[in-house]
C-alpha cells in the first residue's frame, strides 16, 4: 500500500528561540533548521512498515518555503521514494490552509495511510492531522504509540492523559505520531547521496485550487515573563526551612 508522510521544516529543537525586539516574530535568520521531531517519527514509521513489507511506496510532502526541499531530501534519505513540495513562499501558513493543501494532494495520490507528526514544535498547534482527517471524512488516530495494519483496518494504541487507548480504525486513515511510536534512525551518507537522485515535484498552491490566506492575524510576539533568579540552598535542612518559612508552600 502507498503511504503519504508529511514533513515540516522548523527551527532546530535544540536551538534557543529568540523573540525579535520589534515584536513581529522570532529570529530565523542564520538559525539552524531541522525536520520537526514528530515528522521524523512519522517518516521512521513509514520506513519500518516498508521494510516489513506492509508498505510499497512512501511519498513525503512538505509545505512552505523553497528550502523545505532540504527537509524532503532528508525524508528521502530516511527512505521516502519521492517528495512533493507545495511552495507557499513567505505566507504565514496556518493549519487549516495546510490541511486543505494536503487534502488536495491526498485526493490525487490516493494513499491508504497518511502519517503525520502530532504537532510541530514551532507553533505547537496540534491540529493539522485531525483537520486533514476531518476534511477527507476519514478516521483518525491522534497521538499514536503503536500501529498494526490488518488488511483494510489498523489496530492502533493512542497515548491519552490517563494512560493508553486502543482503537481499530478503517483504512484509509490519518495517523499522528507520539514520542513512543519509534526512535528515528540517523541518515547515512550513502542514503543522502541516493536521495539526491529521487524525484521531487514542486507545486504552487494555486494549482491545487486552495486559498491559503491566513485566518489568524498575529498582532504581536513577545517574550514570556522571566522568573526571578533562585536561591541555592546548602542542604535539605535549609531547603525545608525555606519551603516552610519563606515560600510557605508546605
Amino acid at each position: 500500500m502507498k503511504v503519504l508522510v508529511t514533513v515540516k521544516r522548523v527551527i532546530d529543537p535544540y536551538v534557543k528561540v529568540r523573540v525579535k525586539s520589534d515584536g513581529t516574530g522570532v529570529e530565523t535568520a542564520n538559525v539552524k533548521m531541522a525536520m520537526n521531531p514528530f515528522c521524523e517519527i512519522a517518516m521512521e514509521q513509514a520506513v519500518r512498515m516498508k521494510e516489513a513489507g506492509v508498505v510499497t511506496e512512501i511519498v513525503a510532502v512538505s509545505i512552505g518555503v523553497q528550502q523545505c526541499q532540504e527537509t524532503l531530501r532528508t525524508a528521502m534519505a530516511m527512505g521516502a521514494d519521492r517528495g512533493i513540495l507545495v511552495e507557499t513562499g513567505t505566507v504565514d501558513m496556518q493549519p487549516l490552509a495546510v490541511a486543505k493543501l494536503l487534502k488536495a494532494i491526498i485526493d490525487k495520490e490516493q494513499p491508504k495511510l497518511v502519517i503525520m507528526g502530532k504537532q510541530a514544535i514551532d507553533d505547537d498547534a496540534n491540529q493539522t492531522g485531525q483537520m486533514v482527517s476531518a476534511l477527507l471524512g476519514w478516521p483518525q488516530s491522534a497521538f499514536t504509540s503503536a500501529i498494526t495494519v490488518n488488511g483494510d483496518t489498523a489496530d492502533v494504541t493512542r497515548e491519552i492523559d490517563g494512560g493508553l487507548e486502543k482503537l481499530t480504525i478503517k483504512l484509509p486513515a490519518v495517523v499522528t505520531t507520539d514520542l513512543r511510536l519509534n526512535e528515528p534512525r540517523y541518515v547515512t551518507l550513502p542514503n543522502i547521496m541516493k536521495a539526491k537522485k529521487k524525484p521531487l515535484e514542486v507545486l504552487k498552491p494555486e494549482v491545487l485550487g486552495v486559498d491559503i490566506t491566513p485566518r489568524l492575524k498575529t498582532l504581536k510576539i513577545e517574550e514570556p515573563p522571566k522568573r526571578s533568579a533562585g536561591v541555592k540552598v546548602a542542604d535539605v535542612k535549609e531547603l525545608v526551612a525555606k519551603l516552610r518559612n519563606e515560600a510557605r508552600v508546605i
Binding site: 529543537p13 534557543k16 528561540v17 523573540v19 522570532v26 514528530f38 493549519p95 487549516l96 514544535i121 514551532d122 505547537d124 498547534a125 491540529q127 492531522g129 485531525q130 483537520m131 486533514v132 476531518a134 476534511l135 478516521p139 483518525q140 491522534a142 497521538f143 497515548e159 491519552i160 492523559d161 490517563g162 494512560g163 493508553l164 487507548e165 486502543k166 482503537l167 481499530t168 480504525i169 478503517k170 486513515a173 507520539d178 514520542l179 513512543r180 485566518r215 489568524l216 492575524k217 498575529t218 498582532l219 504581536k220 510576539i221 513577545e222 517574550e223 514570556p224 522568573r227 533562585g230 536561591v231 541555592k232 540552598v233 535539605v236 531547603l239 525545608v240 519551603l243 515560600a247 508552600v249
Partner: protein, 308 residues
Amino acid sequence: MSVLVIAEHDGKQLKPGTTNTVTAAAKIGGDITVLVVGQQCADAAQAAAKIAGVKKVLLADAPQYAGAVAENIAVLVLTIADQYTHILAPATGFGKNFMPRVAAALDVQQISEISAVISADTFVRPIYAGNALATVQSSDKIKVITVRATGFDAAAEDGNAAVENLAAGPDTGLSTFNGQELSKSDRPELTAARIIVSGGRGMGSGENFKMLEELADKLGAAVGASRAAVDSGFVPNDYQVGQTGKIVAPELYIAVGISGAIQHLAGMKDSKVIIAINKDPEAPIFAVADYWLEADLFKAVPELTQQL
C-alpha cells in the same frame, strides 16, 4: 455572544480543566452552555450544572460516545455549532483530539491552547514551547478554541443550571473503541495536584521512583516525570510533563534528577514555587528554580521525606 464549552469528564465527575475552560468562556462573555457527551454520564452533567456562570447543560448520552471517539464527538458538536459564536474545550488529550475536526468542518482556523483572553476575537497563546507568547486575532465567524487550564482559575461550583437532553448524533462507524489501559493511582491527578514531585533521567530506574512516591505521599502530591524518564521506560507516558505532555502549574513543583530540557520547562515553568535537586551544578533546571540543591538525589530525597 454565546459560548459552548465541551466538558471533559469520566462519566461521574468533571476532569480538571473543564472549570478553568468555563472561566475562559466567562472572560469572552455571553451565555455559557456546557455540553456533556459520553456514555452513562448523567452524573457528570449534574456536576457541570453546578459550575458558576453556566446557563445551560446539554447532555448527549449514547453508546457511540464511549471512549470519547473523536469522529463521533465532532459530528455531534457540528449539529449545534451554528448556535454559538465560540466553541471551547480544554487543551488536553481529550480536547486536542476532536476540536480540530470541528474547526476544519466549519472552515475555521482553530486557536490552540490559549492562555489569556484579550477580547472576544483576540487571544494569547504560547508558541515555541512557551518561549514566546503570540497575541492572535481571529477573523472567523465561529471561534474554535482550546484552553490551557493553567492560564485560568477554576470556576466556582455554586451554580444551578438546567440540564437538557441533546439528541445523539450518528455513529460514524469510522473507528471501533477497544478499551483503555488507565494508570491506577490513589495520588492526585497531575493537572489538578497542588504539589508535584517529578523525576528525570537521573532517577536511573523505574524502581527508584518508589523514593519519589514516598515523598509524594508525605506531601499529598502527584508524581510526574520528564520525557527522558518516560522514554527510558521508568514510568508510563501519562506521567510526562512538558511541551507535548501535560502542562502543569502547581503551587510547588519538585524536580528531582531533571536536567531541564526546553521541552520539559515548557510544561512546568508556570508553577508557583519550583525546587530542583540535581548533582550537576550546570543543570539548566536551576535557572528556573526558586530553590535549588546541588546534591546526590539518592541521599537528598530520603532525607527530605524524613524531615517533612
